[in-house]
């Protein structure tokens, strides 16, 4: 064999590899395109039927659902992805019909079986489907999945519980579902490491809504800080004013700062004036900085006039973040707060230089950005006019002297 043939042989080897890979790419692409086209061709004519079911009203929807339920296996295989895609996008009768359709085709039963499948992806996919279906009877099984070994499966289970436990979920046993879901979700946060990401759990608890409130209230006394923290956050967002006393207690006494921060924020969202004294107490310098900031922000949100003096005193706080939050809170308090800020900034009220600078910054920023409400603007103008009048009186007095 000549050296030239050797060169050729080497090149052939490499080229064969490259060609094989290139052909693989082309085959993958072609197969994907073919499959998509074929699925479209079968599914396209069935699309109106699917839409009819999903918007779900009257005998037409029932007929359409019956037609889809009677499809031959090939037709169903092509339309199933579209059904699953629509699932979870509608509520009401459409959702119920879709779930009934899936149940009739054995998809729901298959998913429930898959919840214990060996493959983690299959377990998660099944949980996702039951969640999207808002299938209340599966709540207990989904709750069990929160103890799964795979973190992704637990995450999906937590998400699915929110939907399956939400009011308006379908299936039997609906009455018990929300409370069971809420309890399981909160329990998943207990333990050394949470079973599911807290933000996902919180979102699901919010979806469950008011039926979760008793479990959430009880969770405020849980030994795990993460449970207390999440319960506080969700109660605030649910507007559960009955939780206010317990939240006040947490703001003042919880050993974990993060819990105190969330509780303070929740009180601000609830907006109950009775929380003002607890929030004020949480602004004292001995408290952790993050807690103070949250308490100050919430004082602004609650908007009780009794917090004016407290916020004023914080304008020159050594902690810049607290001082900033106090200025912003005063701005948020509306006319009385703005009046106070304007007075401080024009040195009409006795205040330190730092307080004057802070008040000046927040007022001028708000005016320049035109985010100051009209009532506030009127206050600023009134104070300025007052200052000008006093200045000119002073000047007149000087001239007279």
């Amino acid at each position: 064999m000549s050296p030239l043939a050797l060169v050729t042989a080497g090149l052939v080897l490499v080229s064969v590899l490259v060609l094989a890979l290139a052909v693989a790419i082309a085959v993958v692409r072609a197969v994907r395109a073919r499959r998509a086209a074929r699925a479209r061709a079968v599914a396209e004519p069935l699309r109106p039927l699917l839409l009819e079911v999903a918007v779900g009203e009257g005998p037409e929807a029932e007929d359409a659902a019956a037609a889809l339920a009677a499809l031959d296996p090939t037709g169903w295989r092509s339309v199933e992805p579209a059904v699953l895609a629509v699932l979870g996008k509608v509520r009401g009768d459409g959702q119920r019909l879709l779930v009934e359709l899936l149940a009739a085709r054995g998809v729901v039963a298959g998913a429930r079986r898959d919840l214990t499948a060996r493959s983690a992806v299959r377990r998660a996919t099944a949980a996702e489907l039951l969640g999207a279906a808002g299938y209340a009877p599966a709540v207990a099984e989904l709750a069990a999945l929160l103890r799964d070994g795979d973190p992704e499966v637990r995450l999906v289970a937590a998400r699915a519980l929110g939907r399956a436990g939400a009011p308006g979920a379908v299936g039997t046993g609906v009455e018990e579902a929300p409370r069971a879901a809420a309890t399981a979700l909160l329990a998943s946060l207990a333990g050394a490491r949470p079973a599911a990401p807290p933000d996902v759990v919180a979102r699901s608890l919010l979806l469950v809504g008011t039926p979760a409130a008793p479990a959430l209230l009880a969770a405020l006394a849980a030994p795990e800080p993460l449970v207390r923290l999440t319960a506080a956050e969700v109660l605030g967002r649910l507007g559960a004013t009955t939780a206010a006393p317990a939240l006040e207690d947490l703001v003042l006494r919880d050993p974990v700062d993060a819990v105190r921060v969330r509780s303070a924020a929740a009180l601000g969202r609830l907006g109950v004036p009775s929380a003002t004294s607890a929030l004020r107490a949480a602004t004292t310098p001995a408290t952790a900085s993050a807690v103070r900031r949250a308490a100050v922000r919430s004082l602004g949100e609650v908007g009780d006039p009794s917090s004016l003096r407290c916020l004023w005193g914080l304008l020159d706080d050594a902690d810049g973040g607290v001082a900033d939050a106090a200025a912003a809170a005063l701005l948020g308090l509306g006319a009385p707060g703005v009046r106070l800020l304007a007075q401080v900034s024009s040195q009409g009220a006795s205040a330190s230089a730092a307080a004057v600078a802070r008040a000046h910054e927040v007022v001028t920023c708000a005016v320049a950005a035109e985010v100051m409400p009209p009532a506030g603007l009127a206050e600023v103008e009134a104070v300025l006019a007052d200052v000008l009048a006093r200045a000119s009186r002073g000047a007149a007095a000087e001239v007279a002297a």
């Binding site: 699309r47 109106p48 839409l51 009819e52 999903a54 918007v55 779900g56 009203e57 895609a85 629509v86 979870g88 996008k89 509608v90 509520r91 009401g92 009768d93 459409g94 959702q95 967002r237």
Partner: protein, 124 residues
Amino acid sequence: MTTVLVADDDLDIRELVAFKLAQAGYEVRSAPDGVAALDAARAGGVDLVVLDLMMPGLSGLDVCAELRREPSTAELPVIMLTARAQDQDVATGFAAGADDYVVKPFSPRELVSRVQAVLGRARA
């Protein structure tokens, strides 16, 4: 005939809303993103817009604010579709000039009744 413009980047939602509204006797146009929605609304002949809050390119809030800024579309009723049911988001939606909102996953029947109510108010 009353014409409703549906803007959502999710094809399923667009088709579902269009299907339901067509069933309820409206003429429906649809737009896959904020820019297309704005163009369609400006072109005229639209009586109400159903607007997804989170669309890439121009969000529903941007589109709504833009519609309000222009005299020709300032009075055009807008219903927001949103996956976020939190009070502050709803508040920003109203601040941007939305007339009503519907939470996703949505109930088609509720959507139709809101469309009717908003159109009724707009005509009154």
